[in-house]
């Protein structure tokens, strides 16, 4: 696959390295001449020195022949406009933009970027989770960082111990996937009861996970 990356900073460079390792063809667009030199020296790929938000630079980079266009500069508005030019003017199928501001994740998608990745958002979610509590552990991030599969260890003093799942509050978007009780593996139904020391796998939207934790009295001491 042929990929053009706009922005040769740290993110752009590591992305290029990992794409090259997977045998993709990579071109980078970067406005700073110094950075261009070091990229060209260290990666041995075509590096175009110029403003990414420019028709001429993108034509020089032969963006029309690329299967994907990735914009990872530090400015969200530049990433948006670069992706739009790649799509509308050069007919690139797949565009990906980095959003530094978490608020822009949805916005850029609405305005036509196929995939928007927000590093700040993902990182702060991970940090928040690590700090929050040790009764919950994220196993898998889903939906581009908007949802996750979590393991919850019910504490000794779990307030709904012995009650059936159907009687326990379940706020927000959450599904109990399974329960591990000692060596026993249980797929829960409405009548299944929860007990202390159960390990629960729970699929949730990230922004409603705290509601569940609050309702179950698990959000910190």
């Amino acid at each position: 696959m042929k990929v053009c990356i706009a922005g040769g900073g740290k993110v752009g460079m590591y992305l290029a390295q990992s794409l090259l390792a997977h045998r993709h063809k990579v071109t980078i667009i970067e406005p700073q001449e110094m950075l261009c030199r070091s990229l060209a020296d260290s990666l041995d790929i075509p590096v175009i020195c110029g403003d990414a938000v420019s028709f001429d630079t993108m034509r020089t980079a032969d963006v029309a022949s690329c299967d994907a266009f990735v914009a990872v500069t530090g400015a969200d508005e530049d990433n948006l406009v670069a992706c739009q030019i790649a799509k509308r003017e050069f007919g690139v199928d797949r565009t990906v933009a980095r959003a530094s501001n978490p608020k822009n994740r949805e916005l850029l998608h609405t305005l036509g970027v196929d995939t928007v990745v927000c590093g700040t958002d993902n990182l702060s979610h991970i940090l928040e989770r690590e700090i929050e509590t040790d009764t919950i552990r994220q196993l898998l991030s889903l939906g581009g960082g908007t949802a996750s599969l979590n393991e919850i260890l019910l504490p000794e003093n779990f307030q709904f111990a012995g009650q059936a799942v159907k009687d326990i509050p379940m706020p927000g978007d959450a599904i109990l996937v399974c329960i591990t009780r000692d060596a026993e593996f249980i797929i829960p139904h409405g009548n299944t009861t929860l007990l202390p020391w159960d390990r629960i796998l729970c699929l949730t939207q990230d922004d409603t996970l705290h509601l569940l934790m609050d309702a179950w009295g698990l959000s910190g001491k």
Binding site: V81, Q84, L107, T110
Partner: protein
């Protein structure tokens, strides 16, 4: 008319002055508080609208600046990407009919006019044409 202006460099400040002179109500969004000083630099004019310091590519900032109740939006900052993003937010999120956007790159001017239905004005083309006419006559 209520007009939302984005960007207060020399173009923005002069535009605001001229629009207020003929009786329009202006709301301004500008990233850099230093730039607002331009509005005080005119001899015969004093800014009577509202100015908000904030990121014009943030829909919440535009909302606070009154985008929902304005009749037209002019994105005239120095940065093409900022103008294009703000103009698209005004057009496709706030459904504004009259959105005018300053774009220095002539190719982008054509692309965004055609593909995104934004009225674009390109200083590069206008300057070139003026100089050409001055020399060619």
């Amino acid at each position: 008319m209520n007009i939302l202006v984005i960007g207060c460099d020399q173009v923005g400040a002069s535009l605001i002055r001229d629009l207020e002179h003929i009786g329009h109500d202006i709301s301004l969004v500008e990233k850099d508080p230093e730039q607002l000083k331009r509005l005080d630099a005119f001899d015969d004019y004093c800014f009577g609208g509202t100015a908000l310091v904030g990121d014009p590519t943030d829909p919440d900032v535009l909302r606070r600046a009154g985008v929902e109740n304005c009749d037209a939006v002019a994105a005239v900052s120095e940065d093409d990407s900022v103008n294009l993003m703000a103009a698209q937010i005004a057009r496709s999120i706030f459904r504004k009919e009259k959105v005018i956007c300053r774009v220095s790159d002539p190719h982008l001017q054509v692309l965004y006019h055609k593909a995104y239905e934004i009225e674009t004005i390109c200083p590069t083309v206008l300057t070139e044409q003026s100089v050409f006419r001055a020399l060619a006559k």
